[in-house]
């Protein structure tokens, strides 16, 4: 093991080097670009033996990765924001074809107005595309997820592409000290990709075909079961990861001081750290606050959410997203989990960080105060509720 001072992007690229993808399709977009730059250097210096393809668009980036996966190769690409939306067709294609591609997405605002800073509207808009979606909090987790992602995606029970989301700039460009596993251990953890979902010269295949109404829904059912199966595989993979590398992860969610909490903030990504610090501070003042960090939006942690929110007085969902005309999508998902479990707890939605706007410790304190005293269902931090806002 070695230690390096790396940004989130660089840490993720280190994880990908250890995962040994055979084909990398690369197209630059802020704030992801550093990933494909670092990978090109690794290919150049021979520390990563991969075909590095300079595609001419994000659509081609994912289309190329699908072709490589269909050839039986481990494939990687990365994107962000407009690029993710530009390749949207291929997202559904990769998932429907059950190609376990891994893609890093640097979460960034979507135009208009143009903005390069971080929010999560890009990836959350693609929750229905059939990809596993993880949201890292820090550079170490980003690196570890890069290595774990292929093991999860490629598992026979799963066969589903994996989108690893990193908050743009806040995570992608922030430096921290990161432990980098040894190559030998990484290879032991992640064996080469084996599949029958590939071109085969001995037993030729016809692939990515059409299926009419009689069978199409069976394919879709199996696709759904595949991504659901990821929950268990994620847990198994994390256990194995902990045994080899000594770092423990907690599945689809990560709870902080939730056991006796009266008020919980549910959130995702890099803002979770500040939420935890704020919870600590509030507890010093006698407010029993806790934090649930959603690590995976797909498969969605229905059970975990219902279990942890069952006994609170109120909860808030803090997200860098808005589904215009309704509410934040994470809020919708959380509420659905509770409804299905028969949990009746008052919840509130806090929209913040759009276009990279800062969310302060004070904002988070105000969220807890807000849900303790009651507020509007959907609140824009710094502006107000959607009904009485400015």
């Amino acid at each position: 093991m070695s230690r390096k001072f790396l940004s989130g992007n660089e840490a993720f690229a280190e994880g990908i080097r250890l995962a040994s993808p055979q084909v990398i399709s690369a197209y630059p977009i802020t704030p992801q670009t550093i990933v494909v730059e670092r990978l090109s250097e690794m290919v150049e210096d021979g520390s990563l033996k991969a075909e590095y393809v300079h595609v001419e668009s994000e659509h081609s980036a994912l289309s190329c990765a699908i072709g490589a996966s269909a050839a039986g190769a481990r494939a990687f690409t990365a994107t962000s924001s407009q690029g993710l939306l530009y390749m949207a067709e291929c997202l559904y294609y990769a998932a429907g074809g059950r190609f376990p591609i891994v893609m890093m997405n640097a979460d960034r605002s979507t135009a208009l107005p143009w903005n390069i800073y971080g929010d999560q509207r890009d990836s959350l808009s693609q929750l229905d595309s059939g990809w596993i979606q993880s949201y890292a909090e820090n550079a170490q987790e980003a690196l570890d997820l890069a290595l774990m992602s292929y093991k999860i995606a490629e598992d026979k029970r799963v066969q589903t592409p994996y989108m690893a989301n990193l908050d743009g700039f806040v995570l992608t460009h922030t430096y921290e000290t990161v432990d980098i596993p040894e190559r030998e251990q990484a290879d032991k953890f992640l064996p080469p990709y084996e599949t029958d979902n590939r071109i085969d010269f001995e037993n030729p295949k016809n692939m990515a075909f059409s299926a009419g109404p009689d069978t199409n829904y069976i394919f879709k059912y199996k696709e759904h079961k595949g991504i659901l199966a990821a929950a268990e595989v994620i847990s198994e993979t994390e256990n194995e990861f902990a045994e080899i590398f000594g770092r423990h992860y907690t599945g689809l969610t990560e709870n902080y001081r939730t056991e006796d909490a009266d008020y919980i903030i549910v959130t995702l990504g890099s803002i979770a750290g500040l939420c935890r610090e704020t919870a600590d501070k509030l507890r010093e003042n006698g407010v029993k606050a806790g934090v649930v960090r959603i690590r995976y939006m797909r498969p969605f942690p229905n059970k975990e959410i219902a279990d942890v929110l069952g006994n609170v007085r109120a909860y808030a969902v803090l997200e860098k997203d808005i589904s215009f005309g309704n509410e934040g999508t994470v809020f919708t998902n959380v509420n659905s989990a509770l409804k299905k479990a028969g949990v009746d707890v008052k919840g509130y939605n806090f929209i913040g960080g759009l276009g990279g706007r800062n969310i302060s410790a004070g904002d988070i304190e105000n969220i807890i105060t807000g849900i303790a005293n009651g507020t509007e269902n959907v609140n824009f931090i710094g502006i107000g509720g959607e009904d009485n806002g400015k």
Binding site: R98, F99, N197, R198, N203, K205, N206, M207, A211, K222
Partner: protein, 97 residues
């Protein structure tokens, strides 16, 4: 080797693959019902110049014992073979049903 007709059966839940890859060249239906006219080869005239074989869009013509022969399961009766045959060894005849 060419794609060939398999035993007809209903596709069950378990027959549907986990992903979208399946055995290549797997046929379950024929195209013979498309035809209103069928090409008929006069083997006494055929000199196996293979023009019909080369120009058939469906690949249903092969040379057997030195003569052109047609796989009527998949011939759609387009008539290209009859037109291309310089020695007029292929006639289009109405299908009787």
């Amino acid at each position: 080797m060419r794609p060939y007709i398999r035993e007809k059966k209903d596709i069950t839940f378990d027959d549907v693959p986990e992903n979208t890859s399946f055995e290549a060249g797997y046929l379950t239906t024929v195209n013979s019902g498309w035809r209103s006219d069928r090409p008929v080869i006069d083997t006494t005239k055929c000199v196996s110049c293979e023009q019909c074989y080369l120009y058939c869009p469906d690949g249903v013509i092969s040379i057997i014992d030195g003569k052109a022969a047609i796989d009527y399961d998949f011939c759609k009766g387009c008539g290209i073979c009859a037109k291309i045959c310089k020695i007029k060894a292929i006639e289009m005849e109405a299908e009787r049903k």
